[in-house]
């Protein structure tokens, strides 16, 4: 069982090493002369306006909400899909009911205007 995950472990370590080595090399090699302008926040080359702690729009949360709910739905779809061959028509009906219930939520969110970016 572990052999199958050894590949993932190797990838994980490689993915850690890959960004860390250039970062450490750059940190060791670069000249360390810091000025306030160099340490300033980079904002497309323009001068920074305002603080970073500002109020974002609640629409971000509405999109994340729809994403979470339908992500959980996908998690339920997977075991249903791999077992579908043994289950037949009844499973199709059961899953359709499940999805239709959740689609009501999406319709509600849509009608309420929560998905409008205005």
């Amino acid at each position: 069982m572990l052999d199958a995950y050894a590949f993932i472990g190797v990838f994980f370590i490689a993915a850690l090493v890959f960004p860390l080595v250039p970062l450490i090399a750059a940190w060791r090699l670069r000249p360390q002369r810091s000025t306030p302008i160099k340490r300033d926040t980079y904002e497309c080359g323009l001068e920074v306006t305002g603080g970073t702690r500002v109020q974002f729009k609640v629409q971000y949360y509405m999109y994340a909400l729809a994403f979470v709910i339908f992500d959980v739905e996908v998690v339920f779809l997977y075991p249903w899909a791999v077992a579908y061959g043994q289950l037949g028509l009844f499973a199709l009906v059961a899953m359709s009911v499940f999805i239709i219930i959740l689609v009501f939520g999406l319709v509600y969110e849509w009608k309420k205007g929560a998905l409008e970016w205005a």
């Binding site: 609640v58 949360y61 909400l65 979470v68 709910i69 992500d71 959980v72 998690v75 339920f76």
Partner: protein, 107 residues
């Protein structure tokens, strides 16, 4: 070699117990409501570790262990969605998410 031969069940349960206690401590001491929710999530994860450990070590043929874990993940996602929505609503009316400032229901 699989985990069941190498690691005793009590180690896994001890890990879950420690994680649960860390989450409980977070729920008690955190100032911000979001921090309190983090503690709740840690506790739910500890419970899930217990369920999966029992399934694997005691009853691997009983599918209930995995089904329960799946439902707990579902409920945790719903809980996070509603809980964070409430935090946002509280912040909008009160301009704060510090738990100690919510004293309206305290006679």
């Amino acid at each position: 070699m699989s985990m069941i031969d190498a690691v005793p069940l009590s180690w896994v349960l001890t890990l879950a117990a420690i994680l649960f206690c860390i989450g409980l401590f977070g729920v008690i001491v955190r100032r911000s409501l979001i921090g309190v929710l983090f503690g709740v999530e840690l506790m739910l994860n500890a419970v899930n570790i217990n369920l999966i450990a029992f399934w694997r070590y005691l009853e691997p043929n009983l599918v209930a262990g995995q089904v329960f874990a799946l439902f707990i993940i579902t409920i945790a996602a719903a809980e996070a969605a509603v809980g964070l929505a409430m935090v946002i609503a509280v912040y909008r009316t009160r301009r704060t998410i510090v738990a100690d400032d919510m004293r309206n229901l305290q006679g």
